[in-house]
Symmetry: D2
Subunit: 458 residues, 4 copies
């Protein structure tokens, strides 16, 4: 089966050089990256969160970029049929395919640009600034920053939440949609899809014709969490840290639904940034919310934050149980506050330049046994520092749960050894045990074997 | 509480004369009509299908049309709060308010125009043609006929269907939306809302930004079946018969979900028209569909049609059980057939002029005891005539179930007496008993006392 | 030669009744009116200001309205070839053809509506109000009142001005265009085309993509002054008086270039209205302007106004010689004043309801010998009344110069006899003689024989 | 005087790095380039074709890029007042300012990208391909390639033509506009402005709301030939050769009006390319045209081409005297031919990839005395090669006439010495003498002293 797809969305013209670089070629890393991201998008209707299995199933899939009289076309050879309705590709998948193409080509360029610019400017830019500018460049190239007023609510949470929690994320999305707010998530199912689905109906009631459902992803995660079909703006960032930075600079309000270790990692990332002294006064609406059945979850998380990062950190968020309308109202009011604040200080409505992000939140953490064992898990007065270390610990646990490479190394070398202050160790142990009990560490129905040992002694 | 609303949608300017005519005035019929329709729209979020109760609850509601520098505004005094989100009116209600204003003003004019035109033209137009032209004028004035290709699927069915059936109407709507088809219904809840709700998500996946969710209603029904909030084009026709004509001339494809006596009336209306010899060759996709749990319902209905109107009538529709995708595919294919056919014969894509509708389907039937008793309910070779008579019988039963005036007259004079061919009487009795048993005649949980006696003797 | 034209612009759908009414039919007045207006539009590229000659030349021209699957088409039989470029109709003519169709159909209706509404409303509306509302209805039906801020400058002046004056009208138009003002004129050549042509380039420099070039005309004048090709909104009013009312209610600022008796009539119309006591405080930017070569013209006109209507009338306008930028700046500033004023009093930005127009300016004056002889041409304290009488006198002279019927009756009965106050008679004589001398009464090169005798005695 | 300008057009967001690079800084070459191009745009209303004088007059002019909450703003310090109407910047200048900003930033990047890509791809791309791709990148970044059908007519000719010729270029533009063709020129006055001005009225008649008036320029020429105010798409290419390549790849049809040595250079450029064997079959509508008063000019040019490049070259163009409509008709028909041809071979409608341009037409020619003396000016069988050499000769003469640096070196070292085949030398001499006689080498009224000696001997 061979299908040719015309562009839908923002990319329409490629140069001959760009097309040449994407030529189908078993040896070309760029082609493989492009092919795999495209396959992930095409397979997004298929229920399967195991990338390897997916890639095996569609081994015969190939993709070509063709230059035609009216611009480029994409040729798909043996694509998954789930991407089509009556033989016609679903429009959102069609657009996502061209978003992939746009971003893959751009990511290829940006790496070299960065180096060059530093030399060119002969000015004292820290590498941190370069990362921030690169994230900006990628988002701009994706037309992800139209000149609207502050309006984007980022929704985070687990991708395999239970049905009560899923219905709740839809209800929150509905209330956000009724207030004409746009939604930005990590692209996948669960708490990433629910708010978008709910917002769709809310936006319809408010006759918002050009609502934005932004999905931010990265090449390693797109296959496991493919963009749901409501996403109408897909952007692929080069790695997890740039994706996180894109979330916090592009988004205006933040909502965290229940999740597992990954969601805790994200919360720690946010708190670590917000605890930076330069960020003290920035308006930053952050709400933790879920249905009343999930109240316990937030009690555990809040207790952990209180005991480790203290009241100062707890003051950065509100917990709201079972009240979608209130969540949405607070976010809506937050938009006004942000608008006034940024206008006053002259920061952009579209990209939160002022937010200070320390390099330890920008550079990737490699979750090896060695790095995990070396983590400094002791109480300390620099709460931002502690948040950074804790984030790395949870990041390692997430990898140990799901990332193929890390899982393999745990099979060989045994669980990670986490050491630190005994009191802190007990706090972590308690929180993680609660997640295990609530079946948040693995898909429901499977037995969870922890990938870590927490050493309570000194 | 006083709120002023600016226009959203197609009406923006009124003349001073038009504004004067709508002046708040207890004696003015036009003002009362305008006020009540507006109230129905504003109360659409409130669960209540009893108009009288609704009107009592909002006795203090008043409405004024104001002329301002940028066009008109509507002033609402004591409106239902359910129409607002955080003090701001919901956009769809805002638009519906102005649709009401537009149509009330226009309906006021059209009555006089019709008479005048007949005299003016000195040409031999039957009154039937005048009705057809009036319906066209109203739809055109409402901008309900943009120059698109055939694309509108009319969905009919009960307003109080069970949850399984409701989910099914959503699933069908989703598949229609995936095929980029627009939805037209009678405005209210149940089978009128489900297809729109499902289509919203389907359209989002296909990135259809300007999908149409058309609601056709009339002044006497708008309070009982207020436009759901997904409706983005609301048109008020002057009476039930013109509303039915608007459905069949504006719509291209037709789907009937389970319902009660009212839905049967609608099916008989359609079949009566389609059996007209002039309409034999018109492509007219008509599908009866429901979930497998509702298969029995269609068995009964089909048996009744077969036994009364014969195979010729049965050939006019397909019954599809539990297959939303197939329903949508057939409708989609039907659009192509209609397009080719109308192009060939030079009929409009927007308004089905060619469809022949006999006057007995255009003039209203008054369901008095006398008229019901006089109905000619015998088998006859003119199947279209029989369909017209049966439709009037079911129309009377619907009125006897829900229309205040008719209910009162039954309380005084006892049930309607339906007489006719004994075999035909048994068929009707069987069908109606099945509806009673399936709780389709009244809202679930209430005991149904039939408003009719079927006399099986001669 | 047979050509079929698709709609461009606002009309796309007609009912079968409307199409039937326009059927080609030698006996049908409506068809003849429609045919002749359409022919005038089609012949607009041909230099010819003699309607009769034009109609003779294209005797074989016929027009049909066809109903097709995508709406109506217009079929032209033997149209003037000047309307086409390489066999394709010029877009502005195409749109004008559909404007004619739209307005002819509407004018046919409005006559009857007016009568009906009066009976219907049982309220005490003077006939004057009805006229004002009808003009509104026609403009609204033509979509001539989009919701913009005050922006329309009406330009009046002769249709056969000399080249220096024509270049000056272009220069003024250019400056108006640079200030993003829209232009409204009487449709034809000369001072009606120049400002539009100049504005086209001004708008291009300001990248105004949707500038409005509004042409207001009426059935008896459209053939003599066909819409120039820059007009992008053409509206046909039913008669001269409604056309004048449309100008003053739709327009915001007013510019009068040099002209003849007709332009004097228009000035007297404006001054007569502005002298009404209810209109004293209305902001109404009115400028008389021309190149320095035409300074004399304005000296004569101003002297006449001063001597007849007094300083009060002179205060209503400014005379600006040879300064296009200043003219445009004053108009631009006037828009702000009008905006604030109308906002304060709640009058529409689109239609100047508040402006009081007395019935003597709304009802047509029939220029018979008897009516002309009866005119009360004496000084009087009611300057508005005097202005009305003078306007009628000049109106009669215009008719005597160009209107076929009036010209004929003068040939038979001799010139009009104008009598009145000797001093006033001398003033009129002086002004008219200056016009004759400046060759403003007839096209250059033809000898002018006055159509009037001014009796200086009592 | 300090003014802040908001974006109009396609650029709205800059990164902090990009803003930093443009910081006002006397030492920064990039800032100086940016400032001077911006000044040229702002001074475009001032009649002055001497860049040095212009820069001296506005020595105090400075420009800053500011980052604000809604994107960037440009701050102008002491800008020329001619850029403003009533204190408000003219929209086209406003857009041109942001085009300059967009292109300066991009040109800065592109230089480095090119080098990098060559290394990156490890593929055998000639440098010629890189140039072609860079030109594409610049045009794409400027949004100069919307997905329209072939529609762009490039108009070339002198910038100081006489009034008869100027009126003729307007008449041709008017006919092109009537045929809904877009215009692309070199930005400046004369034959570059006339076709745009005429097209403006033609487009208005055809109600073309989004007509394109594309101006292509380069940093060294923008001050001498600033974009006229009708240009609504301005693109700055890095140098003359890339600008020429942009013309021939972006444009579809070509018209050459009378001009001097520069216009001859352009004609030789085109013929040199069209004579390449790979370009034999490409449809390429090329018309030389002027009013009947300029017929002689074309006789001389045609004779020169015939005698040097032969009939094969003469067959590449048509000469049309005094027939604007025919010129436009041929261009319009050419668009259809191009459309069909590119569709057949799969080349883009937007960018003429297939056109083969040899490196000698891509690399700049430095007009030193040495290079001029070395030129191989002999007849030869490779006509494309001869065209290239002749182009360089004329290019040198243009530089000797107007380019400050070259003029100076001629003052010091005397005129260029052109040597070659005696017959060829006589042909050049004859043509150039005709230009001198027709006052095409210098502005009217100044005496022309040739910058070259043609040596007729061997």
């Amino acid at each position: 089966m061979i299908v040719r797809i015309s562009p839908k969305g923002s990319m329409e013209q490629l140069s001959q050089l760009e097309v040449a670089r994407l030529k189908q070629n078993a040896q070309s890393e760029l082609y493989q990256l492009y092919r795999n991201c495209s396959l992930a998008v095409l397979a997004s209707g298929i229920k399967c969160d195991n990338s390897q299995k997916l890639f095996n199933q569609f081994e015969g899939f190939k993709i070509n970029v063709l230059q035609k009289e009216r611009g480029i076309k994409i040729e798909l050879i043996n694509p998954p049929t789930a991407a089509f309705v009556d033989g016609k590709i679903i429009a959102s998948i069609q657009e996502h395919l061209f978003s992939v193409l746009r971003d893959i080509i751009y990511l290829n360029d940006i790496i070299y640009l960065n180096d060059k610019f530093a030399q060119l400017d002969h000015i004292d830019l820290t590498h941190s600034d370069h990362i921030t500018n690169s994230v900006f460049d990628i988002l701009r190239n994706a037309h992800a920053m139209p000149l609207f007023d502050p309006n984007i609510v980022v929704c985070w949470g687990g991708h395999s939440i239970n049905n009560t929690e899923f219905q709740y994320t839809k209800a929150v999305g509905h209330e956000l949609g009724l207030r004409e707010l746009d939604i930005c998530t990590g692209c996948g199912p669960g708490a990433m899809e629910g708010p978008m689905k709910g917002a769709t109906v809310g936006h319809a009631k408010q006759q918002v014709n050009h609502a934005r459902y932004i999905g931010l992803t990265e090449p390693n995660i797109i296959a496991a969490e493919p963009p749901n079909h409501i996403v109408n703006e897909l952007v692929i960032l080069p790695d997890i840290e740039k994706r996180l930075e894109a979330f916090v600079r592009l988004g205006h309000g933040f909502i965290i639904f229940p999740g597992g270790a990954g969601t805790t990692e994200e919360l720690l990332y946010l708190l670590g940034i917000l605890l930076h002294k330069d960020n003290q006064d920035l308006p930053f609406p952050l709400i933790l919310t879920g249905p009343k059945e999930s109240a316990d979850y937030f009690t555990h998380v809040d207790a952990f934050i209180g005991a480790t990062l203290g009241k100062e950190a707890q003051d950065k968020y509100q917990i709201i149980i079972d009240n979608p309308a209130e969540v949405a109202m607070i976010q809506k009011e937050g938009m006004e506050t942000i608008k006034k604040f940024r206008k006053k200080i002259g920061d952009s409505y579209q990209y939160h330049w002022t937010l200070k992000i320390n390099p330890e939140f920008q550079f990737p953490f490699q979750p090896t046994h060695e790095n995990m064992a070396k983590l400094d898990l002791h109480f300390q007065s620099d709460k931002a520092k502690l948040a950074a270390n804790l984030r790395q610990a949870f990041s390692g646990i997430v990898a140990g749960n799901v990332k193929m490479e890390t899982v393999n190394s745990i099979e060989k070398q045994g669980p990670f050894q986490l050491k630190g202050d005994p009191k802190l160790m007990i706090l972590m142990d308690t929180l993680l045990s609660a997640f295990v009990e609530q079946q948040r560490m693995k898909l429901a129905g499977t037995l969870y074997v922890p990938c870590y040992d927490i050493t309570h002694g000194h």
